[in-house]
């Protein structure tokens, strides 16, 4: 499967752009995060890395599909 992933904040710097395509066997949020950790070890140095699916924070066991809007959410610092 090929997932399009949006990147924000520090993850945009680490991935080298606002959007990336991740190839992956699995279909869960956890599998996607592991794949990203392999490909971009710098992500493991963050305080946290949440993943949003369709504009909502997702649980690790959530199943994703190629048509979902997926985004990397490093530690937020708004306000």
């Amino acid at each position: 499967m090929k997932y399009k992933v949006k990147a924000f904040g520090v993850t945009k710097d680490i991935l080298g752009g606002k959007e990336a395509v991740v190839e992956l066997e699995g279909q869960t949020v956890a599998a996607l995060r592991n794949q990203l950790f392999q490909k971009h070890p710098a992500l493991q140095g963050l305080r946290s890395l949440l993943i949003a699916v369709n504009n909502t924070y997702a649980e690790d066991n959530q199943v994703i599909s190629e048509s979902d809007e997926i985004a990397l959410i490093p530690p937020v610092s708004g306000g």
Binding site: K6, F8, G9, V10, K12, D13, G45, L46, R47, A52, N55, T56, Y57, A71, I73, P74, P75, V76, S77, G78, G79
Partner: protein, 141 residues
């Protein structure tokens, strides 16, 4: 009103949007860019938002607050882009019949917004830059 905007925030307009004839109290929180962080001079800040999700998350926060307190009006505006020290980054305004609820609801909204809304800031110093709170060793705030 929930607004994510690159333009300077008109604080009075946010307050007016929240105000209500039945309200006796409006509490307003204004976040401003400090000219220093961890003892270093801040030259400017870069704010970035995942806009559609940020609006979603802020709406959930407002819904929660509306269930917990008798809100008569509210408005949230968050700036993105490049901000200099002294500029307003966020305004939360909440109107309620009495004052205690307005303080509690406003504080709940800004606290939860800061914890949950997908918005990020990068501090730009004279000698470097840094995404705030991104890495453990650099945790601030």
């Amino acid at each position: 009103m929930i607004k994510i905007t690159e333009k300077p925030i008109d604080v009075q307009k946010v307050i007016d949007t929240a105000s209500s004839l039945g309200a006796g109290a409006v509490n307003v929180f204004i976040g401003t860019v400090r000219n220093n962080a961890n003892g270093k001079n801040v030259v400017w800040l870069e704010y970035e938002a995942y806009e559609t999700m940020a609006v979603n998350e802020i709406r959930k926060i407002i819904d929660d607050a509306s269930h917990r307190w008798p809100l008569l009006g509210w408005a949230v505006s968050h700036r993105i882009g490049t901000l200099k020290p002294g500029e307003v980054s966020v305004v939360v305004a909440v109107a309620s019949p009495h004052r205690r609820e307005s303080f509690e609801a406003c504080q709940y909204i800004i606290d939860t917004l800061k914890a949950n809304a997908p918005i990020w800031k990068k501090e730009v110093f004279e000698d470097g830059e840094e995404w705030v709170s991104a890495r453990p060793a650099m945790a601030v705030n």
